[in-house]
Amino acid sequence: MIPPAEKLGLAVALVIASLSAFSLFVELIISMNSAFGDGLTQEELTGSLGNRKADLLIKMIPAVVTTETLENGQKPIIEFRLFDSNTNQSFSHVTYYIILEKDGKKLFYDMFHDHDGDLKIQMNPNSSGNISITGDKTPILDLWIGTSTKPVAISGPIFLSGGLYHFIVRIETVDSDTAILPDIQAPIYDSWLSIGNTENQQINVDGKQVPIKIISYYDKLKDFGFDTKNMQLKFDMPFNWNLSRLENANIFVHEEINVPKPNAFTAKGGYTSTVNGVNISKNVMLDNSNSKADVIHVMLPKNDLLTLADRIIKDGQALSGIMSFTVKPQEGSSMGSVPSSNSSVLMGPMS
């Protein structure tokens, strides 16, 4: 029999622990959606034009774009907005020279204009032969115009595969449609946006085939495997461990694993994870708000990636250019949990 005072103390401790866990999760989710990272859905890049600050926002709308959502007909919009971050005012008459690359290969290049500086380009991925652009054009320089109400559309074999897409953006004009900036004045921005790569796989749990879905928001996954004896998922992802690159980039690696439940894999109510053999369980978040599936998030913010990279470089694994994940069930009884009206979150044990 627990005395009422101790009961109250235990309850308070549980609430505090739960709130701490929940706030950390929320913080990570917020940072994932708005911290403008290499491998995320938006970036805010700093630059200048003379004595004016000229920051470029590149944003994918909606935020979640995966190979699966695109196959289902999603047509995401990419917004380019050049603005003075001191005043938050957009520049006017902005011409954007945009080059899009994937894996070092140029997919398209063209010039786009928006009189209000807020360019919107709609992406219509399809497997037709060539990339084509449709929309209105400026009368003098023949530049594509993409506004909020009438975005310019790019159709063709683009965003067909998941992974990182490299946008190189040079500002050609500001303030006037025909005031072309010379090379030394024209700011150039480099941005990487990510298309989530959806991998549908089957794992054998106690003799039963369980369909699982992994979405990689950083780069395409490969070498998926499942060790039935140890109940361990394994998958790899190309990754450049160069420390100076990581230091200079806004970066966030996010892998999402959807596992239907109940089964022996989900029974323990928690998960541990490693990257290249290093325990990263503190970066594992479990969303078990859906009674029919566990959604396991493996989220690596920049600071953790730097620490990992330092260790992996010292271990001599960096040259492989691979980030190798494992995920396996872990007893969750000792972890903090936050029950709420419609969701609960479990955090992995701190390592």
Partner: protein, 183 residues
């Protein structure tokens, strides 16, 4: 007299210098695309109502080789009374890396020649902008080419001095004549 004449001439000398600086071959660099655009025109000093050939050479910035298989658009832009007007040449092709268009400037002043050039071989697009000074009087154009500022000043000084000397000689002669007549 020199003091009176020189300030009146100065703006014209200044204008001729500005004209000199923009009427020789101009270069536009595009380091992102590794492109150099050289722009020149013939005649070197364009005048109104006479055809001017606007010439573009598009080169690889590193090797200096001409880029092949180009398509371009050339726009001649001017603004007078606060209103911008333009003339455009579309679908200009340049298989060998150079191209030109001929244009008759209707009025004098400074024009802006814009070009949008696509290099299909290197999958690159570049915009370039060049000012062109167009004069109404061909004489002004001659001065800027043939005479340097110092030569012009020396010439003006010489002419003025000659006039002054001639003036004094005439006055002296007149006075001598008057003296002789009085005697």
């Amino acid at each position: 007299m020199i003091l009176v004449v020189a300030p009146l001439l100065y703006p014209k000398i200044h204008l001729a210098n500005a004209q000199n600086s923009i009427n020789k071959t101009q270069i536009w660099l595009d380091k992102l695309n590794n492109i150099k655009v050289e722009f020149s025109h013939s005649p070197k000093n364009p005048i109104t109502d006479t055809p001017t050939e606007l010439k573009f050479d598009v080169l690889n910035l590193k090797t200096g080789d001409q880029l092949k298989n180009l398509s371009a658009r050339v726009i001649i832009l001017t603004s007078s009374n606060g209103e911008e007007s333009f003339y455009k040449y579309t679908n200009v092709t340049a298989p060998a890396g150079n191209f030109s268009v001929s244009y008759i400037f209707p009025t004098d002043g400074v024009y802006k020649v814009l070009s949008k050039i696509e290099s299909k071989d290197t999958s690159a697009l570049t915009l370039a902008s060049f000012p062109v000074f167009v004069s109404f009087q061909p004489v002004g154009a001659m001065n800027s080419n043939m005479m340097s500022q110092s030569f012009l000043i020396a010439l003006l000084t010489g002419v003025t001095a000659a006039i002054v000397i001639a003036f004094f000689l005439i006055v002296i002669r007149k006075r001598r004549k008057e003296k002789k007549q009085n005697l």
